[in-house]
């Protein structure tokens, strides 16, 4: 066992003890000064770091307007029971809260893209039925590569005519299906001069059996958000959502 692993193990044991005694927040292995604030804002009383909440993402942001992340709490769900909610946040983003996801009958796994302002930890907290938040994280370098070009905001004059347009597809898997869908929406953060916050507030997914899952994207989610979810079957899916200007949009996606 390496020294580092030993230290981590000791830290984990110590954190575990502290947790039992005082429900103190576990010490952040990424040493982010924001961690206590993030945990207080977005999580609850009971927080543990848990590697069964996996985040799949590149180590560096090539396009800081579209940084891909896949959060996967399926191993945790298999071992600790259903996940009620997943909250994703990026400590050093000017708006840290990225999204909330209630997987419902979908797998506790969600792919999406977000905007990054600088290098930051990205974390996902998954809440099990006992109220405990299981937190997984990665650290991302947003310095970019040699030919990284600052992305141009979509200068399309016709963006408003396509607002709320949904496109997507169902991809059959061995069990169930992968759903991918995109909603045309600027997802304005309110941080650019003269452009107020304009974002999708929630998207509900349902099938013939009723409600399936719910996504609440916040400002950091990329423009024209594209989501990947894993569903129990490949039957037709209804999507319905609204934004903070009360625009409503809906679509049905058939296999």
């Amino acid at each position: 066992m390496s020294v580092r692993a030993l230290i981590l193990l000791c830290a984990a044991l110590f954190a575990g003890t502290a947790h039992a005694a005082t429900t103190a927040l576990p010490k952040d292995p990424l040493h982010s000064g924001q961690w206590p604030t993030m945990a207080r804002l977005f999580l609850g009383e009971q927080v543990v770091f848990d590697q069964r909440v996996r985040l799949l993402a590149p180590p560096e942001a090539e396009d800081s307007m579209n940084f891909p992340v896949l959060v996967d709490a399926s191993q945790l769900a298999a071992e600790a029971g259903p996940i009620e909610e997943i909250v994703v946040f990026a400590d050093y983003n000017p708006i840290p809260l990225v999204l909330k996801f209630q997987p419902g009958r979908a797998a506790p796994r969600l792919g999406f893209r977000l905007k990054l302002q600088q290098g930051t930890p990205i974390r996902a907290g998954a809440r099990t039925a006992d109220g405990v938040w299981h937190v997984g994280h990665i650290e991302v370098d947003a310095a970019g590569g040699g030919c990284t070009v600052p992305s141009l905001a979509h200068g399309n004059a016709d963006w408003s005519s396509r607002l709320g347009e949904i496109s997507g597809g169902l991809f059959e898997r061995e069990q169930g299906a992968r759903l991918r869908f995109r909603v045309m929406h600027p997802m304005d953060t309110g941080l650019a001069d003269g452009i107020p916050v304009f974002r999708i507030e929630h998207i509900e997914l349902s099938d013939a059996d009723g409600a399936l899952a719910r996504i609440e994207p916040y400002e950091p989610v990329s423009e024209n958000p594209l989501f990947s979810l894993d569903l129990p079957s490949s039957s037709a899916i209804s999507l319905a959502g609204r934004d903070n200007n009360a625009n409503r949009f809906s679509a049905e996606i058939h296999p």
């Binding site: 799949l56 030919c147 990284t148 070009v149 409503r248 809906s250």
Partner: protein, 312 residues
């Protein structure tokens, strides 16, 4: 006062350190009068000062043609000194093969000479040089000291140009970027393939159109040459074209298949690379970058408009 002093000291120190940055450039003669200054096969780093690129120069009895100028002012100055040590012939013309910063940020050292590029290249430089400069300063740091963007002063057209007794042909291709200039010296059989061709180093794709690129490779393969100088990687021959094609074909097929099965972009980042590509320079970082550049075009094809949609 002490703060000012510290700031001054810092400024002096960094200026001295930058002025000291020695790229250790060497001119390698690959044919009579034809030289290559070879760069590392890695990514830009603080240590390599951005020297990841191959620069060429061709000496005639009527002056020297320089192909690309490197990633920084210091590189450009050291390149010019190297050329002047290597030959008594004066530099008569400088060419920028395309608009990526490692190929033209050394222009400053040649500002008193005619610098030429394809018109689409000049337009792309104007649009993107500022972002490139920010990025290179951030990654490379000190060696970039004092680098300013100097634009080409002449536009090029494809065709033959005269350089003393030499027969030199310029080809305007595209695919790596919107305009990629390739230089063929018929007299020596040397092809300066620019970033159309990478060898033992992964291709970069931030402005790539892979289909176009593959077509351009077909055209390159039809040319008569003996020695090929890739934009990045060791001097080679037609084998370098085959390697670049092989990689682009694998990459595009891999991304298309992933999009067809509904893979999320994040799921592709750690895809195992075929063995023949895994050890190329700048891997796997360059593959990861290509996923970000190219995957959106493939997934687009598998996101059809739904049968029923409603916006209120």
């Amino acid at each position: 006062m002490s703060r000012l002093f510290t700031a001054l000291l810092g400024a002096l120190f960094s200026a001295a350190a930058a002025a000291d940055f020695d790229y250790r450039l060497e001119a390698q003669q690959i044919a009579p009068g034809v030289y290559v200054v070879e760069g590392d096969t890695e990514h830009f780093t603080f240590e390599n000062g951005g020297n990841i690129v191959n620069i060429g120069f061709i000496v005639s009895d009527d002056g020297v043609l320089v192909i690309d100028t490197g990633p920084s002012r210091l590189y450009g100055e050291q390149l010019r000194a190297l050329i002047e040590q290597t030959t008594d012939q004066p530099i008569v013309r400088v060419i920028n093969s395309h608009h990526h910063p490692d190929h033209f940020f050394g222009n400053q050292a040649f500002a008193d000479l005619p610098i030429a590029a394809l018109p689409e290249t000049i337009a792309a430089m104007q649009a993107e040089a500022g972002g490139f400069a920010d990025n290179l300063y951030r990654i490379v740091g000190n060696a970039m000291f004092g680098t300013e963007v100097i634009m080409p002063t002449q536009t090029l057209a494809p065709g033959e140009i005269s350089l003393g007794q030499r027969r030199i042909e310029l080809l305007a291709l595209s695919g790596h970027t919107a305009a990629d200039l390739v230089v063929l010296d018929h007299s020596s059989g040397v092809l300066f393939a620019s970033d159309m061709v990478y060898y033992q180093r992964a291709a970069t794709t931030p402005h790539a159109d892979p289909a176009q690129w593959l077509q351009s490779l077909d055209r390159l393969e039809g040319l008569q040459f003996d020695i090929l100088v890739p934009g990045h990687g060791p001097v080679s021959d037609a084998a370098a074209i085959a390697q670049t094609r092989d990689y682009l074909q694998w990459l595009t097929a891999h991304l298309a298949a992933a999009a067809a099965r509904g893979a999320d972009m994040a799921e592709l980042v750690f895809s195992p690379l075929p063995e023949r590509f895994a050890d190329l320079g700048a891997m796997p970082a360059e593959y990861m970058r290509s996923v970000a550049h190219l995957y959106p075009r493939y997934e687009e094809r598998h996101l059809p408009e739904p049968a029923v949609a409603n916006v209120q």
